[in-house]
Symmetry: D2
Subunit: 333 residues, 4 copies
């Protein structure tokens, strides 16, 4: 049984605390901490764990692992501190919005030699994982193209947009990770066509809400990503890999399977609207992988996997600004 | 090139004449005949073939085959005459509504030794045929159950209902044939639960419009058939075979594949409404099988295959009247 | 917050205890009990609740509700005792295999006036529930036919088969409940065609493993149920309602949505194999309905809903033995 | 009844002649011509029409319309001659590989004022047309993105590749037309990422076989096109439109609907392999539109619709050579 403390009990941290406590045999939730004490207290009460009064208290304790689920701007400092304290680390994405900051985290983690797992949960979605598996086991032959559709049901609040670092590092970062995961190859070039189509306020905040991206990978695979901040029909998440021997694609699940046939045609339910409805099983599987990684000494998504998508995101921003393909080695190595 | 004349140029006969003329290499449409001369003339003009003035003229000619597409009550007389004239015969279903009449046709055909094919076109539908193949090639292991859904989009005119012989011999007869085809086994018992739910006028005409049937086959397979004279969403035709090693099912095709996703859910087109939309490819495949059967000497659906479904239909009527399971050997052998 | 104790911590009782503890806000798991103390102790430890030493201790405590998840032969005695103790009751199906015993439970519950909910969880499956809703809200017009497919992935142990009361009361009982739920109408007649096809040992134990049933409802609807103890491709659970204005059907969910297309065709994952994989959301929804029913005073599935399916099951056995349609009022009222 | 002659009786010309003769009431096939006389003779014999000895003979006759199905390099000369002869014209795509040549055709047609229809058949595919309709009727709100997948089952012979003008004007030209059709807006910029992945011989011939394209339209819509010369699982043709109010997508049809479920998962048939299997209904609908356009005076796809996709194709070639976005007004107006 590995003891773990959750730092940050906002929406995502609370979800992680609940998953650990209720559904991950082998992990034991010891404590939670949040600068917003009231929220952390409620979680502690609900789950029957300790309420820590500070990060320092957590790091000084004998807890074996920490989950860093605080706001993005605290990720690197907490990662460095946890690494120095010798804790195993579960780190929510993105690691940081700043490459030199990420490098600081990389250095600290590698110096300390602590296990770390970055929370790109979508790799653990069973449908996307089956696409990756079909590529990795050769079922599709040589991989020629990858297509990722990733559309949110509704845009975040404008206040969030303003501090998010922009759609490419906030939202597309998941898709850059998926592209690396499925192709098994680094992104070498990015071209972006983006626009403000959903909400002018997003444009006024200096961001975009609609984009198509073309990536080139080291192994020659070409990837397209399409993003929208608003798909009114639900959370649209699909991955399609195409190769010399075939194609594998993950479709959106439906809320349930009933079809109604009338003289007007056939009707089905919408797809799940919210990311938690769609991806809870993937968060759970990510925790199981973390637990197993502690055992085996090998984490599936390490700190460098947290860095590469940010490089792609920075290249995407530049491509959008200059309307030209941008090589990732222009912006980071 | 085999020459063929089409007797009867109503809806179904006209379709057959067109298919033969336009889409079946190896068959040549020589002539058409109908007691309604004007209709036959129009077909002859359209397709550029002869208009025969009588059945006798056709049978006395050197045409090698005839397609009997006239009204049901003339089928046996024409079959006997064509057999005696040594013609190969394509005979529309049902052979007759009367078992002793069918026996007369069987005797004549077998005495003359002419090739004959009875037009149960659904066996040639590629989806249903794939279900049969999965049974026949052992993909499903031992066959335990068969389920047939067969629903028309709208009831026929009441005048037709009155002379149709009743739903079980007019409509269900296709499903009895399908049950024999897929299971590869004779029907030994029939139980029916039927009602008038679509149109009271059908009940007043002494018929039913809604039915569920349970069949037992010689090989122990249990089959259900469900029929309705009115499925407002289109022509609903499905076959599902279940065995020790798996299940195979033919779904309804859709008119086209487009799906529209909105905040209200997903919409698809209706399935095809009319039997010709659904089953034209099966009629064409049936003609190709007829042509090939002339060559090989083996017809896929012979005159005895035209008899067995009528026995089941008569048993079904009796089961409905007496609310009890009826063995087919009670009503015919 | 309503306190509840779980009696019986076998497979199904343990699941209920975990659901209550972890996922049903408003219910608080107070204690568990099982004659097999070790199992109950493990559950109590895992979930942090009390271990009761006897049923009497539970019923004498101030716990407000009990979940009866013990073996079927104890259901009635426990229901009577819980009713007399004034507890709200969640009762696993079947209530009993004996009609007079059920009547004893009905009397006790109605005399005590305690709320009771019988655990026919499938009513809460979102897909089946959507079919029922389409019937109830008139989307399908008048209901003409209902078709239920219900096949287990593998037969239970022969020792279980011997004490199960037979397939019709052990397995089909869920489908009789579904038929009553979707049609909103009582079953008045049952006809069965059944066989031993999966395992001869089931036949030697006096039971069947494969069946097709035809039901007639009070409102004229005709229902078919098909059962098998072994569908090698997974847990096959479908409901299809057909009416004058359309059709609604619940398909099997797939384990995930990925399709792989190669030159050999398209492959998908199997459907979920095990009933817990398929129906966990329905068990959870059943608990939410129980909790809400305590509040509102109206339970969705009451004790009489636990009785009617057993009457149908007894009629089915008789129909199978005598190969004739059996009216339910022959065997129970 | 409009009389029509077919010029060119290769694979596509023969198909058009057969469709006209057999399935388009209101059009009468008068004559066929091909420089390869033997082929034309066979078609004339089969369909019972005249064999013309020269194009001049056809244009001097009183035939009212011509279908130009000859090799691409003859299209403009024949179009000009037919226009000058006052014939209505059905012109196979592409009009030409040379913009100035197309302009010559445009001028001649507009000077003569003859009706002309360019054969972009995919607009008439019922599924793609339903996507366009959902955009045009506002069902999807404002159009934000369009995604087109267009993959052939196998590459053409290398000899053909060498004279094809390259994949972007030979194959992608259909997709440029589809993009203009569905968005209802001109293409203003093209960016391409392309490679040789299928066959090195294609690269040696100076062409590519794998590509992802990003288009920007005048109305702000962003479009992706993905092309491959070889999808081993069949002819992959899909269109997906995404807007503020929803998404509409045309899926690939399946060869038939049967699914086989075993312990290994579910199997379906491949999608149709060959373009004729998939698109025959669209060719037929194109002919009906041509016939109706003669009546109404309005052709759905005119000579300028034949020009715009070539401009996009030329821009795509330049983008590929220079790895930069290319505005269509750089290469044509």
């Amino acid at each position: 049984m590995t003891t773990i403390a959750v730092l940050g009990t906002g929406r995502i941290g609370k979800m992680h605390a609940e998953l650990i406590d209720r559904q991950v045999p082998g992990l034991e939730l010891s404590a939670v901490f949040d600068v917003y004490t009231e929220g952390a207290q409620a979680v502690a009460n609900d789950l029957g764990c300790d309420l820590a009064e500070s990060v320092e208290e957590v790091l000084a304790s004998d807890v074996e692992a920490v989950a860093i689920c605080t706001s993005t701007d605290t990720h690197v400092d907490l990662t460095v501190a946890a690494a120095e304290a010798g804790k195993a680390i579960f780190l929510e994405k993105p690691v940081s919005l700043d490459l030199s900051e990420i490098d600081r985290a990389v250095d600290a983690v590698e110096a300390a030699g602590v296990p770390i797992h970055v929370g790109f949960n979508r790799r653990f979605d069973p449908a996307h994982a089956a696409v990756q598996k079909a590529v990795a086991d050769g079922s599709l032959g040589d991989l020629h193209m990858l297509k990722i559709t990733s559309r949110d049901p509704a845009p975040p609040p404008i206040e969030y947009v303003k501090v998010s670092g922009g759609m490419f590092v906030d939202m597309t970062i998941h898709d850059f990770d998926m592209a690396r995961f499925v192709t098994g190859s680094e992104i070498v070039e990015v071209y972006v066509k983006a626009a403000v189509r959903v909400d002018p306020a997003i444009g006024e905040a200096g961001d975009v809400d609609t984009a198509l991206l073309l990536l080139t990978h080291e192994n020659g695979c070409i990837t397209s990503i399409d993003n929208s901040r608003q798909a009114v029909y639900g959370y649209d998440q699909r991955v399609e890999a195409f190769g010399s021997a075939g194609m594998a694609g993950s479709e959106n699940p439906r809320s349930h399977t009933t079809e109604i046939h009338t003289a007007d045609g056939t009707r089905q339910e919408t797809i799940p609207y919210f990311f938690l409805e769609r991806y809870i099983p993937s968060y759970l599987a990510a925790w199981e992988a973390f637990r197993d990684g502690l055992e085996s000494g090998s984490m599936p998504i390490n700190i460098r996997d947290g860095r590469a998508p940010l490089v792609a995101g920075i290249a995407a921003k530049l491509s959008h600004e200059e309307n030209r393909p941008v090589r990732t080695d222009e912006v980071g190595t």
